[in-house]
Symmetry: C2
C-alpha cells in the first residue's frame, strides 16, 4: 500500500493488521509486516502498539467486540425476556456462523490467535455472561423466568448453547439439521428458565 496523507490512527493500524492476518495467517502480522502494509515506518506503528503482543491483543479485542456490540443491541431492545433471550442466542450463532462462513481463512486465523490468549477468551465469555445476566434479571423481575442465581444460570445458558457459538464447532455450522438442533437446544433452555 502506498504511503497516504491520512493520519495514522490505531483503527487504521488494526484494519491493516486484519488484512495481513487474512492474507498470511497468524504467523505473520508483526509490527514490521503491518508497517509495510501501511507504507509507514515501524516506529510510527510502535507509537500506537508497543509490542506484537499488544497489537494482537487489540486486533482480537476488536474482532470479538464486533460480536458483543451486535448482541448489546439485542440486550437493549424491548419485549419479553424469553423472546429477547432467543433472539440473543440466534444473533450470537448467526454472528459466529457469518464470520466463519464469509471469511473462513480469517476466522481460522482468529481462532488460533484467540486460543493463544486465554485472557481474551475469559474476558469475552465474561461479557457474554454479563449480557445474559441482564436478560435473565429482566425475566425474573417480570415473572417470566424462575428466580435463580443469575450469574450461575447465565453461565449455564452459555455453556448449554456452546455447540452454536464455540469456534471449535464451526465445521458443524453448515451441516443440514444444525438449525433444527439449535432450535431444540433453545427450546430446552427456555423451558428450563420457566418459573
Amino acid at each position: 500500500m502506498p504511503p497516504t496523507a491520512a493520519p495514522l490512527t490505531a483503527e487504521r493500524i488494526l484494519e491493516a493488521t486484519e488484512d495481513v492476518l487474512r492474507r498470511h495467517g497468524p504467523a505473520k502480522a508483526t509490527v514490521v509486516d503491518v508497517a509495510r502494509e501501511l507504507g509507514v515506518s515501524h516506529g510510527s506503528v510502535y507509537r500506537h502498539f508497543r509490542t506484537k503482543a499488544a497489537l494482537r491483543e487489540a486486533v482480537i479485542k476488536r474482532w470479538l467486540g464486533r460480536t458483543t456490540e451486535t448482541l448489546a443491541g439485542v440486550v437493549e431492545g424491548t419485549g419479553p425476556a424469553p423472546e429477547k433471550l432467543r433472539g440473543w442466542l440466534a444473533a450470537l450463532f448467526e454472528a459466529k456462523r457469518h464470520k466463519a462462513g464469509d471469511d473462513p481463512q480469517l476466522f481460522a486465523t482468529y481462532s488460533v490467535l484467540v486460543g493463544e490468549t486465554s485472557d481474551q477468551v475469559d474476558q469475552h465469555i465474561a461479557i457474554l455472561v454479563g449480557q445474559l445476566a441482564v436478560i435473565l434479571e429482566e425475566g425474573v423481575r417480570a415473572g417470566e423466568f424462575a428466580p435463580c442465581d443469575i450469574a450461575g444460570r447465565a453461565r449455564a445458558v452459555l455453556d448449554a448453547t456452546g455447540r452454536f457459538h464455540d469456534p471449535y464447532y464451526a465445521g458443524q455450522w453448515s451441516r443440514p439439521g444444525i438449525d433444527q438442533d439449535f432450535t431444540e437446544v433453545c427450546d430446552l433452555v427456555l423451558r428450563g428458565l420457566r418459573p
Copy 2:
C-alpha cells in the same frame, strides 16, 4: 514382550495396540508395531485385522465402548427418570474426566484418532443419544418429563452438556468451579424437561 503360548485373540491384539498407543502416540501403532509388541509375526495380526485402519477402528470402538457400557448400566437401573438422567450425565462426565485425568497421554492420543474417523464419533454419539432417548421415554411415560420429540430432545440434552463430555474441553475438567458449572447446566436441563 516375549512370545507367549496364550492364543492370539483379537482382544489381546487390541490390548497390545493400546499399550503401543500409550507409549508412542497416534503416529505409531501399525500392524507391524503391534506384532512386535506381541512377539508374533505380523501375518498373525493380519488374520484378525486386515489393515491398519481396521485395527484402529477396533481399538477406538473398544475405547469408546468402555464408556457406553458403563452408561448402559445406568440406563438399565431403576428409579425416577429425572434422577436416572442426572446420574447418567454425571457418569458420562466422570468416565471422560477419569480417562483424561488418569492417562492424559492415552486420552490425547485417542482424541486425535477419534477426530480422524468421524464415522466412529457419529456412531458413538448415536449410541449416547439412544441411551438418553430410553431415559426420556421412561420419564415421559411416567409423567415426569413433558411429552416431546424424543430423538430431538435427547440430542439437545447431549448438545447442552457438551462442555462436560466433549474431549475438546478436557483441559477445563480440572478447573475449580467446573463441578458447580456442571450442576448448573444439569439443573437447567432437568428443569427444561419438566412437564
